[in-house]
């Protein structure tokens, strides 16, 4: 919790004979994060070089390339294949040797045929297009070319063509841009072409065919039909092959990927003439397992030892260690930056606070239920993508929180539920809910006393959001102290710790000074404390003293940081967005209801007519459109603003990030048996 998984550094050394069993076993365990061996620089060991791939890597790679090209031709992937059954490795090996070449050859042949036919179809279609203008031409195509003294020019003109040289022409009946065929003497061709420019003449090549255009087109169309039939046959054959071999192809892809990764593993190892050695990271709880398993597969001929770790700040890879419900939020952490090994991992806190903030913004039972249904529906859609699953899970948590806050605020699609809001109300009276309550509308919107039902506690809600900000930022600064204590060294460490305390003191000093002078709802009122000097009361002086000490602590670390002091106020006030954005979504919902129901539907219902029914339908459309828009805005606003509060206001106080992802050597097998 709040800390990444604890990691231990292991060194494995053995003779090269043990290379293969060690790699196979490490791959099977899928817990060893390999530190790549670098030949040059600090990590170099004298006499050790990067290893060579295991024998057979190239053959396996070739087979893998074959399988992947077939898979992409079929459009299949691991995620589309059902993982209900698993194939055994021995059977798979045998089939890869026996069946794969035949399947690959068959598919290749079919694909080649398919491409050939498709390009033929395309060519015929192009020819048909070229022939189309000549359908009405007065002469067969062969008579329009191949003369010694006469040339034909065909094309579209803007208007009827009229040339100064002797010519004969034929025009199609179309008025806007008639298709024209001209016969001119060979010697006049260039003159004709120049003059044709005035008619914006677009030349068309005369096709080299014999017979009338419509006849030729018919021939080509028949050919295309035959080809299309062939293509359908090929698709059918491909479909059969796909259905028959889909599982085999994908499971062998998985198997061969594993083989290639294993075969190439020595490229990350350090090897001498007779030995190899590799370092890497393993979760501390699993160290003994690695010891035992390696010892077993090598029959004791391997040396494994846990290395001392000197500097934890940079090196170990980071794996989250959170309870299940916090896993989805890790997405937001990775989006920002993975925590470093030694620093606090805030994902658990974020998993709790983020949905609460979302709920505060979109506290509405109706929208909550819509989003909950949406998140449950999307689950099957994003199957296979881990980030998608995480996002959907976050949406689910947020929508549940929305429903809870909706019950507290007594809101459902901008209507109130049949009970009063608990504690604080966000109900605002926009447009009133009918003529009888018109007076009430005046009262509520103009800030005068309203009846209990329509009192909204907006100032109190804003203060509540400021409280959330104060506590959130104070916590961030406390974590800042902790991170400085663990991650920094020497003199700088103390300065940094005290600077963080200084920031807390400045913030609370300002708060106390404010409380001492202005009574604010939901905040302590210190204005009653006795005055001491110059009209300042005791609390004001206490506040100022705390503030000044805080400033001094900040200045000790870096004087320039004092320039940042005003951000304390802007950061805390930034949390008011929780209420402000929330109120805007309440307002949009209420306005939608007012327009759709009070302005369009209700007046028509009172006096039903045919036009009235149309208007009522229009009203329903407005209602649906308004609420759909507001749901989308709610997700955006409710998601982005809390995210920003975390990233900008919260993380900047303590979080450093930049951790390396824990990426163990191995694979989670989906389609083949474990052993």
């Amino acid at each position: 919790m709040f800390q990444p998984e604890s990691m231990s550094r292991l060194l494995i050394v053995a003779s090269k004979q043990q290379l293969e069993p060690v790699i196979t076993e490490l791959y099977r365990m899928n817990i060893f994060h390999i530190d790549d061996y670098v030949e040059k620089g600090d990590g170099e060991w004298e006499g050790f070089r990067i290893g060579m791939p295991l024998a057979g890597a190239d053959v396996t790679s070739a087979a893998l390339v074959k399988i992947r090209s077939i898979a992409s031709a079929f459009g299949i992937s691991k995620d589309t294949v059902s993982d209900a059954e698993r194939s055994s490795i021995n059977v798979l090996k045998q089939r890869i040797e026996q069946d794969l070449p035949a399947i690959a050859e068959e598919v290749e042949k079919l694909l080649a045929k398919k491409t050939k036919y498709e390009s033929m179809v395309k060519e015929y279609e192009q020819r048909i297009e070229a022939l189309r203008p000549f359908i009405d031409a007065p002469a067969p195509l062969e008579l329009l070319q191949g003369y010694d003294t006469i040339s034909f020019i065909a094309g579209y003109a803007k208007e009827s063509v009229n040339l100064s040289i002797p010519y004969e022409k034929w025009e199609s009946s179309s008025k806007t841009s008639p298709f024209t065929i001209l016969a001119v003497k060979n010697s006049d061709v260039s003159t004709a072409e120049r003059e044709l420019l005035d008619f914006q003449f677009q030349k068309v090549q005369i096709p080299q065919e014999t017979g009338s255009a419509s006849q030729v087109i018919q021939e080509y169309e028949q050919k295309i039909e035959v080809l299309n039939k062939e293509l359908a046959g090929i698709s059918e054959q491909m479909e059969t092959i796909k259905n028959r071999h889909e599982f085999f192809l994908m499971s062998s892809e998985e198997f061969l990927t594993g083989n290639v990764e294993q075969a190439e593993a020595p490229l990350r190892f350090a090897t001498s003439e007779l030995t190899f050695s590799v370092t890497g990271w393993v979760p501390s709880s699993k160290v003994t397992k690695v010891f035992e398993n390696l010892d077993k597969v090598c029959a004791g001929k391997v040396y494994v030892s846990e290395l001392e770790v000197e500097d934890y700040n940079e090196m170990p890879p980071v794996e989250y260690n959170n309870p299940d419900f916090a896993h989805p939020t890790e997405l937001f952490m990775d989006l920002y930056s993975r925590p470093r090994y030694t620093e606090l991992d805030p994902s658990l806190l974020m998993a709790i606070v983020f949905p609460i903030m979302f709920g505060l913004i979109l506290g509405d039972v109706g929208y909550g239920i819509v989003l909950l249904v949406l998140s449950l529906g999307l689950r099957s859609l994003v199957k296979g993508s881990e980030a998608g699953m995480q996002l959907v899970a976050v949406l689910r948590n947020c929508s549940i929180s929305s429903i809870i806050f909706g019950i507290l605020f007594s809101e459902c699609f901008g209507f109130s539920l049949p009970w009063q809001p608990f504690w604080l109300s966000r109900h605002i009276n926009i447009g009133g809910s009918g003529a009888a309550e018109h007076a009430l509308e005046e009262a509520a919107t103009h800030g005068m006393a309203a009846t209990a039902e329509h009192v909204s506690h907006i100032p109190q809600l804003l203060v509540l959001s400021i409280w959330i900000g104060i506590l959130h930022i104070t916590l961030a600064r406390i974590w800042g102290v902790r991170n400085a204590a663990v991650m920094d060294h020497g003199h700088h460490r103390n300065l940094k710790m005290f600077a963080n305390i200084g920031w807390i003191m400045v913030m609370w000093g300002i708060l106390i000074a404010i409380w001492a002078n202005f009574p604010i709802p939901l905040m302590p009122d210190l204005s009653g404390t006795p005055q001491i000097i110059a009209g300042l009361n005791a609390s004001t002086i206490a506040g100022i003293v705390i503030l000044v000490i805080g400033l001094a602590l900040i200045a000790r670390e870096n004087v320039l940081d004092l320039m940042e002091v005003p951000t304390i106020i802007s950061n805390v006030l930034s949390y008011t967005r929780l209420i402000a954005v929330g109120l805007s979504s309440v307002a949009i919902a209420m306005v939608t209801n007012f327009i759709a129901i009070d302005m369009i539907i209700n007046p028509q219902l009172a006096n039903l007519s045919i036009i009235g029914i149309v208007l009522i339908i229009a009203g329903v459309v407005v209602f649906l459109f308004g609420h759909t828009l507001n749901t989308a805005l709610g997700v955006l606003g409710g998601g982005l603003h809390p995210l920003r509060l975390h990233y900008v206001e919260f993380f900047t106080k303590f979080y450093r990030g930049g951790g390396k992802k824990y990426n163990p050597f191995g694979m989670v097998r989906k389609l083949i048996e474990q052993n």
Binding site: L335, Y336, S337, I428, T445, H446, G447, S456, I458, P459, L462, S570, L573, S574, T576, R577, I579, A580, V581, L583, S584, L640, L643, R644, Y647, V648
Partner: protein, 83 residues
């Protein structure tokens, strides 16, 4: 002449109108400012994310920085209208 028409009701109504105008200006102008601020940042952030997808978190962070000012405008408007 104006003094003769100005009754208490009229004064109250015009005060309420002024409040509404003020609230509108607070949201509108601050939105305008934030828009101008985010214009350049947003374009640059898009470029950065296109170059390197890992920049998304930081890019989003910088893009939304100026929009705090709208929230302040919104809060001022809310306080004007509902206090």
């Amino acid at each position: 002449m104006a003094a003769e028409i100005m009754t208490v009701e009229v004064a109250q109504a015009s005060a309420a109108g002024m409040k509404a105008i003020g609230a509108g200006l607070a949201v509108g102008l601050s939105g305008f400012g934030a828009g101008i601020g985010e214009m350049g940042i947003g374009a640059a952030a898009m470029g950065a994310v296109a170059e390197n997808k890992d920049m998304f978190g930081i890019a989003l962070l910088f893009t939304v920085l100026p929009e705090t000012i709208v929230i302040f405008g919104l809060v001022v408007a809310l306080l004007l209208m509902f206090q």
